[in-house]
């Protein structure tokens, strides 16, 4: 499912003195099966942007096309779009409302019109896949710890088996192991099911490790759009807009400045390790010559 945004503008409180233009002239093309990261300072428009992608928020001007179909056409099937584009909200509290956790996760697939047995199977599967403790399945979603709520909210969307999976800071509040488990799970789903994934994140490290393309938002506009290496090469400019490079990238720059010729494009621990070992080996070989 390809998605095109054509000159999308959006303002909150359009008719009032407090009008805020949250999106300015956004042009984007998202291909089928991409794994995209969206980064940007707080208030840069990330959440607003992704809520356009399943029709929750309607552009003030501009067009959005799914597989070439204008989603603002009168006869466009918005319900079908919402069943294909799953969105995990930034705050799980905005998504949880049933009396038990299990019912909550059933809500999405039930809405797809699936039979009861399939719905329940999917709910079990989803809760298990996000590592949610089984003993709590039939308790209230409101009596959970922050990270537990997050897992339930993610499970609720996974249970719908969307073609496009959009996650708004899904790992905020997860413990480090949980963070890795959820991102590995999403990455695996992306590979095996060929779904499109859009990940909004404030963790430069996570984005560097998982996504193929990064969209950088700054004050409602797209500032950069490229591979992680291309984007993080601009780290000085990223810093000016509230962002940063992954931590190891800074280390690489420091080593390089002090005369060890390491790869400045390394953004993950794995890449940094390889590059440092390689640079030290070359260093040693030169000495022996």
């Amino acid at each position: 499912m390809s998605i095109i945004l054509d000159k999308v503008n959006f303002s909150y409180s359009q008719e009032t003195a407090y009008k805020i233009q949250a999106l300015k002239d956004i042009n984007l093309k998202i291909e089928d099966g991409e794994f995209i990261g969206i980064i940007g300072h707080t208030g840069s428009g990330k959440s607003t942007l992704i809520q356009h992608l399943n029709g929750l928020v309607k552009a003030t001007s501009g067009g959005i096309y799914f597989n070439g179909q204008d989603i603002y056409d009168e006869d466009f099937n918005m319900k079908e779009l919402r069943s294909k584009v799953g969105l995990v909200f930034q705050y799980p509290e905005h998504q949880l409302f049933e009396t038990t956790i299990f019912d909550d996760v059933c809500f999405g697939p039930k809405n797809l019109g699936l039979d009861k047995k399939t719905v329940e199977l999917r709910a079990y599967e989803a809760l298990r896949s996000v590592g949610f403790p089984e003993a709590l399945y039939f308790q209230s979603p409101f009596d959970l710890s922050g990270g537990q709520k997050r897992r339930v909210a993610i499970a609720g969307v996974l249970a719908m088996k969307p073609e496009v999976l959009i996650l708004d800071e899904p790992t905020a509040g997860l413990d480090p192991a949980g963070r890795d488990e959820i991102l590995d799970l999403i990455s695996k789903m992306h590979k095996e099911l060929a779904i499109t994934v859009i990940l909004v994140s404030h963790s430069m490290e996570d984005v560097a490790k998982y996504v193929d393309r990064i969209i950088v938002m700054n004050q409602g506009s797209v500032m950069y759009d490229g591979t992680p290496k291309e984007v993080f090469r601009q780290y000085k400019y990223l810093e000016e807009v509230g962002l940063a490079a992954p931590q190891v990238t800074y280390l690489m720059h420091e080593l390089h400045e002090k005369g060890l010729p390491v790869n400045l494009d390394a953004t993950t621990v794995e890449e940094a390790k390889e590059s440092i070992l390689c640079a030290l080996r070359n260093n040693e070989a030169k000495r022996l010559q």
Partner: protein, 288 residues
Amino acid sequence: MSIVKTKGLVHEFIRRDEEDNVESITTALDHVDLRVEQGEFIAILGHNGSGKSTLAKHINALLEATEGTIWVDGMDVSEEENVMPVRKVAGMVFQNPDNQIIASVVEEDVAFGPENVGVPTDEIWERVEKSLKAVDMTKYRNHSPNKLSGGQKQRVAIAGVMAMEPKCIVFDEPTAMLDPSGRKEVLAAAHELNRQKGVTVILITHYMEEVVDADYVYVMEDGKIIMDGKPREIFSKVDELKAHRLDVPQVTLLADELRKSGLPIPKGILTREELADAILKCASDFRR
């Protein structure tokens, strides 16, 4: 005198069905003994559901202990007349800022706390000014907090607690929704309050990097404190931390990986500078 002290603190969440029969019991705190001295900067780590927020709520007199005692600034929290004084001593930044927003305008929201504890009007506005500035939200002072982005709300919540100038602040994952600069600024603000005003800081976080400069670290698991020590001691136990669903800062992880590949990198590296020095030393040692 310790600013926070707990002895055998137990908290059970008891769930009952319609007939009032006990359905289940979750032991969120299981005999916790903790001692935080005035002026310390401590961090609490632990897996999801390990009891961190429950402990934080006890420090703010929001829950009643099932067993054991907690004292805040020497006051037994379980005594009714201590509840308000305890909340004045210990401010709290909640995990979700929505739970903390009260007024319909940002600056009133920040003023609410100090107003409530009887700070004179002139001083209230001074404090509001300063706190909004510290979190870089001055330009939103007349906005409605409900209409802010996630990270902006979080900043307002932090300003609200700072404006109360409590002796002790419990930050429950304050940076979870912040961009890298915001995260740095909030951490810097917490350290500044700690160093300059002697405010005790209790920081709950899932970001290992944020813990590096803490004086002391506690690790919780299933309601118990299972490890404690200085950041350097704690983070030298990479495998043990991972077994408890935690991690180490990225540079520490890289240092560990390099060591496992045979480089003579010392244990307990916490900062980029330390790691850079260690690697460059390897390079020059080779040369010799």
